[in-house]
Amino acid sequence: MKRREFLVVGGTLAASIALPARAAYPEKPVRMIIAFAPGGESDIGARLQQGVFRKKFGQEMVIESKPGAGGALAWSQLNTFPGDGYTVMGTNLPHIALQPLEGNVQYKTDDITNVHMYQYTPDAIIVRNESPFKTYQDLVKAAKEGQDKVTFAGSGTNSANHLAHTRLNRLMGTRTMYVPFKGTGDLVASVLGGHVSAAMSYNTLALSQKSKMRMLAVASERRLPGFPDVPTFRELGGDWVDGAYRGVGVPKSTPEDLRRKISDIFSEINKDPEFRQKMADGGFELIDITYDKMAAFMAERTKAYLEGAKLMGLAK
């Protein structure tokens, strides 16, 4: 125990001694650990950042996948890495807020030091083209009449989609059914095949299935560029701007100035016009929650998630 404390203190000390040399950060490749399998949205986002990172900062950003337990496997290891700025990790909201509430994981939300949030994909209700629900109002009407006949496919239990569905039920004043899926493939097939009424997913699904599905409502601040006819939940009377937020976290031992520096770097990447275009094409909404705004942002988000988690029966 003492030895460990010594190491931690020693580590912090070493990090602060190394301070002057840090003006040139990054001076070697930065390892970005992604807590999800390659090919997922977190991975795609990081890979698009990869190129800009190299272009602007002259170093490689090496992406390493460490999937497992919906991201929890990687996040619970975050603080075991050296806080030298050369190991950073992709973080996701509401995942890092919901998982500790569920209690299966070995980290707490506060263990994750987020330094920047750079994009999100808003929650969205999506139906297939053949669906009788043309508008959100059709859906609400059917849900009120048939109650549990209306079913929503989503990814996982106690997950972001599950939380969104709980919110939707409260907004509509209904008790529709949530059907959890393990993989995106099955989920899309079930919606396309009409085995479920709708999907509680993200705008990205509506974008990739644009010719076969339509979006009824979206949880973005304002209407999305590719979908000028789809109303936001705000317009529909709900205080609901949410989705899957993605950002970057660092080990707790990372000194303040490095945290700021990393935040600046990702702000800078978000400004690249070509990158902005590619992200927009992929359906990612860019945001810029910098390190100094992070505490307030997390407090506001966590409060909202806790409220939702209570409805789900996850928290008291």
Partner: protein, 503 residues
């Protein structure tokens, strides 16, 4: 329709045969063969690592190369399965059963050649199928609801009993064990982790890689340690590198049937190639005049599953290209690659990016041709590998297995699991328990549970959905028939005879 198909194919071959694209296709299939041959190192890790390198390529070239890696790997996976009883890829697990026995009898060359020929035939037919019928096939796959999937899995499990040779009770026990191992991990409906002993590494369950590598690969290596250098005996009498006319005639129908089954199962999301190869093997064994030959070096037992897994590898592109649905982790990665290259995957690909759609389809056939041309001459070299001394070959294989298993999730836990399953596999070998049914139970179990519960959730707990939906009902009837056949006294007698011979 016909003329437009020709025009489309012309467009496709124009793209696929363009100088640089054919080069990238070649690189893809060569890399694929290599990682397929190396046990454990799979297409997911390879494609993920190569993804950044493809940024500089035009999107079509990049995707042609990545696709080549995928079906090249499914092709190369059979080589290690036949030569050293190690499934290079999970879909070549069944190939181990008879392929390795053929190699032991000195027919490694024949087995490799028939695998190559079968794969090429399957690849050609599947490519034509994809080109001609992709959209309607995709629509058909969508008709499968949760209850239909469940019934398909039931059929698969009953088929697994037929698959095993030897004791019926042991086969059932192995399937049940596979199902139990499949239960480890998060329960989708409640989100609660099951049987993970509190280990976060097991929250997602046990991967198929560690199990397949462990039970087949590590287990076999341990078994061989008992024999010392005796292994050389069967290597020294390697005869006839190429199959004879009789071999080809015997393999013709198995290849056709394997191709058909594989093509159909590949379209359905989830486990296409694995399911295809397992069911093709089962079918051949059922149809054979003398089923007792299976598991002892029957050439049909190599021809059918190899054709099936290659056909399924091709047709698993159907849901991806027509619906934007990934049917396995590699396809999910391909979707990621498309987005990174600025192509929006989904149903609109066919109309928005016809050169990509048809170019990829044509390149699959070109790739399959390249694979045969590349691999047939290499058979002699692969067989020579067997003459390598045990003390060099096996440590090398073990090392590659460890690297491969680790690379799947970058998790050391997987390596430990593979080692554990290696010991289990060794013990099973001693007890005459087949590992193949275990693996099938493991693959099908979780899908079966997920779909059973989803079907019941959607029907508000009414089990009638399984018999009122036509697809589901048909599959259940076939399963029941199969069960009757297995339990018929005459068949049972035959099985028991096989068992006696085994001892």
């Amino acid at each position: 329709m016909d003329s437009s198909l020709l025009a489309n194919l012309q467009l496709g071959f124009g793209v696929a045969l363009a100088g640089t694209n054919i080069l990238y296709c070649l690189i893809g299939v060569m890399l694929g063969t290599l990682i397929g041959v190396l046990p454990g190192i799979g297409p997911v890790a390879t494609i993920a690592m190569l993804l950044p390198a493809t940024f500089v390529l035009p999107p079509v070239s990049a995707l042609i190369m990545l696709a080549g890696i995928y079906y090249g790997a499914s092709y190369g996976g059979s080589t290690t399965a036949i030569l050293v009883n190690l499934p290079g890829e999970v879909s070549s697990v069944v190939t181990c059963l008879d392929g390795y026995q053929m190699a032991r009898q000195g027919h490694a060359g024949k087995a490799l050649a028939i695998a190559a020929i079968g794969s090429f035939f399957a690849g050609t037919v599947a490519t034509i199928l994809v080109a001609a019928f992709a959209p309607p096939l995709a629509e058909l796959a969508l008709k499968f609801g949760p209850s239909d999937y469940f019934s398909l899995m039931v059929l698969g499990l009953i088929a697994a009993v037929v698959l095993a040779h030897g004791s019926l009770i042991k086969a059932v026990a192995m399937i049940v064990l596979g199902l139990l191992v499949g239960l480890i991990g998060t329960d989708v409906n409640s989100g609660i982790a099951r049987y993970n002993f509190g280990l976060p590494e097991l929250i997602d369950g046990v991967g198929i890689g560690p199990i397949a590598m462990g039970v087949f690969g590590f287990g076999e290596i341990i078994r061989n340690l008992e024999h010392g250098q005796k292994r050389d005996v069967f290597v020294k009498r390697v005869t006839g590198l190429m199959p004879t006319w009789t071999d080809l005639k015997m393999s013709f129908w198995p290849i056709v049937r394997g191709t058909t089954l594989g093509s159909m199962l590949g379209i359905l999301p989830g486990g296409g190639p694995i399911l295809g190869s397992f069911s093709a093997y089962t079918l051949e064994k059922k149809l054979a005049k003398d089923p007792s030959r299976f598991g002892k070096g029957a050439i049909e037992g190599v021809a059918a599953p190899e054709s099936a897994n290659n056909a399924a590898a091709q047709t698993s592109f159907v849901p991806l290209l027509t619906l934007g649905i990934p049917s396995n982790p590699v396809m999910a990665l391909m979707i990621g690659a498309m987005i990174i290259h600025g192509i929006q995957p989904g149903p609109q690909i066919m109309t928005a990016n016809p050169e990509l759609f048809w170019g990829m389809i044509a390149s699959m056939w070109v790739g399959n041709l390249l694979l045969v041309v590349l691999n047939l001459p290499m058979i002699g070299m692969w067989v020579k590998l067997l003459t390598l001394e045990y003390r060099f070959l096996y440590p090398a294989i073990l090392l590659f297995c460890c690297i491969g298993v680790y690379s799947i999730n970058n998790a050391w836990m997987d390596v430990l699991l593979a080692a554990g399953f290696g010991l289990i596999g060794y013990v099973f070998g001693k007890l005459d328990c087949e590992a193949a049914p275990l693996l099938l139970g493991f693959v099908l179990g979780p899908m079966m549970e997920e779909n059973l519960r989803r079907a019941l959730l959607l029907s508000r707990g009414d089990p009638a959905v399984f018999v009122t939906r036509p697809i589901s009902a048909t599959l259940l009837v076939i399963a029941a028939l199969l069960l009757v056949i297995v339990l018929t006294p005459s068949v049972r007698k035959k099985r028991e005879e096989t068992f006696v011979e085994d001892v």
